[in-house]
């Protein structure tokens, strides 16, 4: 893999309205880290909580190489409390109601959720052709920022 500094957009206009040339060609990982992790968070009526999304991205192996690795790093909250859903204050009775129902639902499914996590991860690995870059010989990790 020797693409020098190609960038994805061979030519890039810089004046006036920028052409967002990435469109469909942009790397899914780059898009996901922006649409899931960045952008303005405002409370919607339909609450999917951010913790779920973090769990999701972990499963997608976007952030850490494996669920095991996540645990090593101390990221294991999903095992403890699947019901710690919405952090935002409920802004209406209806929203509160929805949130509670979601929590009940989450509790009902907590078993499946925690149990299923790793399987989902495995499934994902299984389908890729690219094997995980083999772990380095140890001792080099410290250089990571």
């Amino acid at each position: 893999m020797t693409e020098p500094l190609a960038g994805r957009t061979g030519s890039y206009p810089s004046r006036a309205a920028p052409q967002y040339a990435q469109g469909s060609s942009a790397n899914l990982a780059d898009i996901l880290e922006r649409v899931l992790d960045k952008g303005i968070v405002i409370a919607g009526d339909i609450r999917i909580n951010l913790l779920d999304i973090e769990l999701l991205t972990i499963k997608l192996r976007l952030l850490v190489a494996s669920v095991d690795k996540a645990k090593e790093m101390g990221i294991d909250w999903w095992e403890h409390d699947p019901s710690l859903s919405s952090r935002a204050a409920p802004d209406s009775l209806a929203a509160e109601n929805r949130r509670l129902r979601a929590e009940i639902e989450a509790m009902r499914r907590s078993e499946a959720l925690t149990g299923g996590g790793e399987e989902a991860g495995e499934a994902l690995t299984g389908r890729g052709e690219v094997p995980q870059a083999e772990e380095e010989s140890g001792g080099t990790r410290s250089d990571e920022r």
């Binding site: 693409e3 020098p4 500094l5 994805r8 960045k38 339909i46 080099t140």
Partner: protein, 276 residues
């Protein structure tokens, strides 16, 4: 819950200032599931607007979303649709992207949220006007297995047993990697210097690993820089040179992006205190 009254929900993509440019680009956009994209005006003169579309309420209630989000194909389709709308709008005007799957029961509920956030939205719109985001990733290249780096010296090999040869080979590989990491640090410093010279702001992303990252090389820096559009060229030129003389280091530039990474409003409700 009767099914008939909530067949649709309102999916919001972004906040923007109203105007012809916005309305034209919204009219040209297709949203999630190909739905037409519309403007939800705020209350009052000059108020920011939401850009939204209708989505199936059944697909976007909590339970369904939870399920869907586990489905990479579904997620990818929605993420790409979300992103496509934002890019299209962003080519025409300043936009604040919202987090994926920000959904309201109807337009009125959305408008309430829009009005409630007006001050923060206006502030951010002003800050991001005329700016774009560039993604900069620095990689330490994976050792090339086809051609292992330094073959053991011919002089020493004859007498050396396999164990020792292995060890010295291992050591050589490790030192190549160490120096590549140091070189990556140098590249990072150069890019940061370019950022100080040209950029308005910087945000850090977590380094990408794993299958989706699509590279065997080790991602050691994954940053986003906010640049005034007219400074992009100068910044990119500097970045392009950053790793020229650094073997084993690769710099990958993506963009220009709508400034997703800088559209993070301080949330009044949740005290997050997280990094970056």
């Amino acid at each position: 819950m009767s099914a008939e009254d909530i067949a649709y929900a309102t999916y919001v993509y972004a906040v923007a200032r109203d105007g012809d440019a916005l309305r034209e680009s919204a009219a040209e956009s297709a949203g999630v599931a190909g739905a037409p994209v519309r403007i939800i005006p705020g209350t009052g003169d000059g108020a920011p607007v939401f850009v939204a579309s209708s989505v199936s309420a059944h697909d976007f209630d909590e339970a369904a979303l939870r399920r869907h989000l586990e489905d990479l194909e579904w997620l990818e389709a929605v993420a790409r649709a979300h992103h496509a709308v934002i890019e299209r709008l962003g080519a025409a005007t300043t936009v604040l992207p919202l987090r994926l799957a920000t959904v309201y029961l109807d337009d009125d509920r959305a408008r309430e949220a829009l009005d409630a956030g007006r001050a923060a939205f206006e502030q951010l719109l002003a800050k991001l006007e005329g700016h774009v985001e560039w993604g900069i990733k620095i990689y330490v290249e994976a050792p090339d297995e086809a051609a292992p780096p330094p073959p053991p010296g011919p002089a020493s090999s004859p007498g050396v047993g396999p164990g020792r040869a292995y060890l010295s080979n291992r050591r050589a590989q490790r030192s190549v990697r160490d120096s590549a990491h140091r070189a990556a640090g140098t590249a990072a410093e150069r890019i940061e210097a370019a950022g100080r010279a040209f950029a308005t702001d910087r945000a850090r992303h977590r380094v990408q690993q794993g299958e989706l990252a699509g590279s065997r090389d080790e991602n050691v820096v994954n940053d986003a820089y906010l640049l005034r559009a007219d400074r992009s060229d100068a910044f990119r030129a500097e970045v392009a040179r950053a790793a020229d003389d650094l073997p084993g280091v690769r710099v990958d530039v993506t963009g220009p992006w709508v400034p997703y990474s800088f559209a993070t409003a301080p949330e009044p409700a949740a005290a997050e205190g997280g990094p970056s």
